[in-house]
């Protein structure tokens, strides 16, 4: 039966068989399976990823030992700031407490977040690091775990500097803010939720500027006829009324 096949075919098939065998050996024996099976190399990649070292211990770990600071931090303005945001990666510290995490002491660190930058969202507390108590460490006035202004602002100009600057060059310079605005104490702590009052009626300005007023240095007008139905501050900006 074999003799019936022409010899050239037989030789060719031997060569072909050798080639196929060589390829098969190379594919299944020589090459390691990890090179061919995607599952193997993918699993080993995942294994390698999972085995990587953790540097940041995570937000919940620190409170186990540092309950005081964590409790303070949880209720303050910095409640969204995790410990490791400022103190750096602390995984090593959880395993061996003698390895201390960092403690940022310089002004530069706080300025990363609190330096003035036009791109930052409005309402985020920002300062000008050049003008704001230069060379003092931030922690001397602000407790970083529960940052509040060190004392309630003594002067309105601490926040309302623009108005204060205008007022200093006006005839009203010597009139205190509280003469016209009554400021609830809470306004100094939560400025946006509790607002100071503003004068509501013409009579308020009339206390000094009406003809009948006792006050000598204020320019006088006839309150019932001056300006008709308009309110005083529709025409005169109270923080900078016309200079005499």
């Amino acid at each position: 039966m074999l003799n019936k096949i022409p010899e050239q075919i037989r030789r060719l098939s031997v060569v072909l068989a050798v080639v196929i065998a060589a390829v098969a050996i190379a594919r299944y024996v020589v090459l390691p399976s990890s090179l061919i099976d995607t599952r193997f190399h993918r699993e080993s990649t995942v294994q390698r990823e999972v085995a990587k070292n953790i540097q940041f211990a995570g937000a919940s770990v620190c409170a186990a030992c540092h309950a005081e600071q964590a409790g303070k931090n949880r209720v303050g303005y910095h409640k969204t700031v995790s410990c490791e945001a400022c103190h750096g990666p602390a995984r090593a510290h959880t395993e061996d407490p003698s390895i201390k995490p960092t403690k940022p002491k310089t002004r530069e660190f706080c300025v990363f977040c609190h330096g003035y930058d036009a791109s930052r969202p409005t309402g985020f507390p920002q300062i000008n690091p050049v003008l704001h108590n230069p060379l003092k460490s931030c922690a001397t006035c602000h407790n970083p775990h529960d940052p509040v202004p060190p004392e309630v602002p003594r002067e309105c100009s601490a926040c309302h500097a623009q108005i204060a600057n205008i007022k200093t060059v006006s005839p009203h310079a010597l009139i205190g803010c509280t003469s016209c605005h009554s400021v609830p104490a809470k306004h100094k702590v939560t400025p946006r939720s509790v607002r100071p009052t503003k004068p509501q009626a013409r009579d308020f300005c009339g206390q000094c500027h009406a003809k009948e007023s006792e006050r000598k240095d204020a320019p006088k007008i006839d309150l019932p006829t001056h300006g008709g139905r308009f309110l005083c501050w529709d025409c005169h900006y109270p923080h900078r009324p016309e200079r005499i």
Partner: protein, 251 residues
């Protein structure tokens, strides 16, 4: 030529069948051991939400990422970075990557010229249809079952094709290993239930991390309550990084 008789054949077959069973078992074990104990990647699908309104551009995320993932400290190697967008009154847009550390850049544009300005944190979008995976000639990069695109650094040949292919510019060539490197959502942390390092340190919670398969996760809530956009939706990559309050100028 020695011919195998029936008895010999049966003897070898009896040995062969259990041997195959043992081999299959070993393969199965290797498969199961890949991730942490009690972790099944099939039950998770990870994503990240970014709230542009909350980002203050402090750069802590960049530093934390470099710390956690052994990324070179030079500013041009990053797995995550933050861009500052300045849209001027004349309509021109200036985009720059913020610097970290002491040389942290302040904005250089004159404030009077700014119409609006904001920060956009960026990272690998862990696409559902990742172009980087399609182009890799050696199959070194792939998406895991839980939706994270990883790079096999042993298989990667450093051809940079994926770096070219990524429409978000999220990959770089690691100068030490000479292989492509990218954000993994801190895969070694998330499988153990921790948050990625950048999310961990973000002081304003501008970054939200969560599991899309769990209805109780913060990310699902974030997606439900905000108007969500993704970057370059026309490319149909289906990113899993979701941006809230994204400006139309952001590319």
């Amino acid at each position: 030529m020695k011919i195998m008789n029936r008895r010999k054949f049966l003897k070898k077959a009896i040995l062969f069948i259990p041997a195959v069973g043992v081999l299959r078992r070993l393969v199965g074990d290797a498969h199961g051991k890949a991730t942490a104990e009690g972790y099944d990647p099939a039950n998770h699908l990870y994503g990240m939400g970014i709230d542009i309104d909350k980002c203050i551009g402090c750069g802590l995320c960049i530093d934390a990422c470099k710390n956690e993932n052994n990324v070179p400290k030079e500013p041009f190697f990053c797995r995550t970075w933050v861009e500052r967008y300045v849209i001027k009154k004349d309509g021109s847009v200036v985009v720059e990557s913020i610097e970290t550390g002491k040389e942290k850049g302040r904005q250089k544009t004159n404030e009077a010229d700014i119409l609006r300005s904001f920060f956009v944190p960026k990272l690998c979008n862990q696409c559902e249809n990742p172009p980087c995976v399609q182009v890799c000639p050696v199959g070194a990069t792939f998406a895991t079952e839980d939706g994270v695109v990883l790079v096999d650094s042993k298989r990667c040949i450093g051809c940079r094709y994926c770096i070219q292919a990524c429409p978000y510019g999220a990959r770089y060539l690691h100068p030490e290993t000479r292989t492509a490197d990218k954000c993994t959502f801190c895969y070694h942390r998330i499988v153990k239930g921790l948050l990625p390092a950048c999310v961990e340190v973000c002081p304003t919670q501008a970054r939200i991390f969560g599991d899309l398969k769990s209805m109780a996760s913060r990310l699902v809530r974030f997606k439900r309550t905000k108007r969500i956009h993704v970057l370059k939706p026309h490319l149909n990559t289906e990113p899993k990084v979701y941006y809230a309050s994204l400006d139309g100028e952001v590319r």
